[in-house]
């Protein structure tokens, strides 16, 4: 045995020593530990080892397969990987479709599983007839067709989108038993491609009096939100493509406003009009809905930024552990203020922490997948993740957040929105049975 391989083995063994309580291992243990460790891995979804029978060809290996479809979809065995719908019969109220984070991995959300909030259904827009008008405090009002916009220089970027009300069940005074999909399903991440709004404003010119813009959709409520012009000139985009294909109807086809890192509702879907103004419009959604009430009765206004946050997706409620052994704890972290700089994971309810590995590339205002190897001894464990961003913000503990923002006195329904902009730590308790519960710690 060479010295190098000896050292590697030695290092591998060392990396199997826990770095934090309840069996958390060094984030590079799997990389360094080698085959022996990989062989010892258990998984949340692994089934029993195949019985000692001779391997034989299955029917799908014994003849030609199906015709390749012109637009592909996933295996029929994955049909249960779906969004949950709050209003499947389109009754006269808002519809929510939540992303199944516990059944996905990686950093971007497939288009069919991207979260959606639709306040009066999805309009069926003919792209030939759709127009984008920019007017108000501009030097020359202009109208654009989709064909025109398609000829402009474009940019692409990964960006998470999160409803201001995502994770609102965690304002409940008692931990609500629900999946990560029910608790945190109103956030997703995609690659968006389109034309910088600043490019179009360059052509309309900007009256120096303009400080805001009001963006409006072509949906039935003509949903409108006010956006400071500084954001429009910073990184706002008229998005035309979502993960490489045209936007999904539920996500704004044929065009939406994209405000990276800012409250989902402001990213106006089915965008048809932008008016530059001196002041905000105080539209229904900014004056009333997205104004969270603070203890004492005052309310926050213009809570634009989706602050630094993380949650563990594997394991999580509904993904039971399959006996003691090695597992990977993983989840997503993101910040509307920039890049994720660090994620720490605890298996003992925050008493000790191990640094998680971050999947490269770590991009600004996008999902960052974090991972930590874990040797579960089969006893009770309490899992938490905590993220930091490169703007210097740390994800708060729940106690820190509710001290400022308050919590409910009654337990609300899991689909309720007692308040908004919850970005504190989420805690999963692992029971001896392998069940995963949502708890406060």
């Amino acid at each position: 045995m060479t010295n190098t391989s000896k050292n590697r083995l030695e290092r591998g063994r060392k990396n199997l020593e826990p770095v934090a309580g309840n069996g958390l291992l060094h984030r590079r243990a799997f990389l360094r530990g080698g085959a022996a460790l990989a062989g010892a891995m258990t998984g949340y979804t692994l089934v029993q080892t195949a019985s000692a029978q001779q391997l034989a060809d299955d029917p799908w290996s014994l003849g030609p397969g199906a015709t390749v479809p012109d637009y592909g979809t996933r295996s029929r065995f994955e049909k249960d990987v779906v969004r949950t719908l709050s209003n499947p019969k389109a009754e006269p109220r808002t519809q929510h479709a939540r992303t199944p984070h516990h059944l996905l991995n990686g950093t971007f959300t497939p288009n069919g599983l991207h979260f959606v909030i639709s306040h009066a259904g999805d309009p069926d827009i003919d792209p030939e007839k759709h127009r984008l008008v920019i007017h108000g405090l501009v030097k020359q009002p202009l109208v654009f067709t989709l064909d025109m916009l398609a000829r402009y220089p474009m940019v692409s970027r990964m960006t998470f989108l999160e409803c201001g009300g995502n994770s609102a069940p965690l304002f409940s005074k008692e931990a609500i038993q629900a999946s990560v999909q029910a608790l945190h399903g109103l956030v997703s991440c995609a690659e968006w491609t389109g034309v910088r709004l600043s490019t179009l404003l360059e052509e309309t010119g900007i009256d120096p009096k303009a400080k805001w813009l009001i963006a409006e959709g072509a949906d039935a409520p003509h949903l409108s939100r006010s956006v400071p012009l500084t954001k429009a000139l910073d990184d706002a985009m008229i998005a035309l493509y979502q993960n490489g294909e045209r936007l999904m109807p539920s996500n704004g086809y044929p065009m939406r406003l994209l405000l990276p890192g800012w409250e989902g509702n402001m990213n106006i879907k089915w965008l048809r009009r932008i008016q530059l103004t001196e002041m905000p419009g105080m539209s229904f959604y900014e004056a009333r809905t997205y104004a969270p009430i603070l203890p004492g009765g005052k309310a926050y206004q213009f809570y634009f930024i989706q602050e630094v946050k993380s949650f563990i997706t594997h394991p999580s409620p509904g993904l039971a552990m399959k006996g003691p052994g090695f597992y990977e704890i993983s989840g997503v972290a993101y910040s509307g203020n920039g890049r994720i700089s660090k994620v720490m994971v605890s298996a003992d309810g925050g008493k000790s922490w191990a640094q998680a590995a971050l999947a490269e590339p770590v991009q600004s205002k996008a999902f960052t997948r974090f991972r930590v190897p874990w040797r579960w001894d089969g006893g009770p464990a309490v899992l938490q993740s905590r993220a930091w961003d490169d703007a210097g913000y740390a994800q708060p503990t729940r106690a820190e957040l509710v001290a400022v923002r308050g919590e409910t006195t009654q337990t609300p329904p899991v689909t309720g929105f007692p308040s908004q902009h919850y970005n504190a730590i989420t805690t999963w308790a692992i029971e001896r049975s392998g069940e995963v519960k949502h708890v406060y710690a």
């Binding site: 052509e203 400071p228 954001k231 009009r273 009765g297 309310a299 206004q301 930024i305």
Partner: protein
Amino acid sequence: MYMRKLGRYVVVFTIAIGASAAFAQGPNLGKPLNPAEIAAWDINILPDGTGLPPGSGTPADGARIYAAKCSMCHGENGKGGANARLAGGDPIKDMESEKTIANFWPFATTLFDYIRRAMPWRQPRSLSDNEVYALTSYILSLNKIIGENDTMNAQTLPKVRMPNRDGFIIRFPDRL
């Protein structure tokens, strides 16, 4: 060559942001519009009343329209039904307080703007401006924010002072 041109666009755009349209060297494909062409779509109302159209309405006018077009969802006299109530509401105390027009909305202009763009839920943009003024008057009157005989129009509506006008804290003032 193509890439170099793109690169030049980016540089020009970056430098020229905020400068006059005359400097723009992008594709320049947008078609100019005049105010008359925009009028049909320009439905934004600002809190100072900018954008409010001609016309007017009274609570009595509004009550009739409300009974025909709104009460099936929002209940008789704005008491609430399948959808939010539009009258009354206890003072806001905490996150479990129900946000109502009377106890929460900071500007009366939001009522006109929202009714005109989004209501009735199944037939948005079907109300005339006079009807929107009338419904706005009726709802404000139900909440005793204006008198039973007050007329709402482009002059009077922006002057209505909502009870919770000062109930807000701007979360990120440095981003405005």
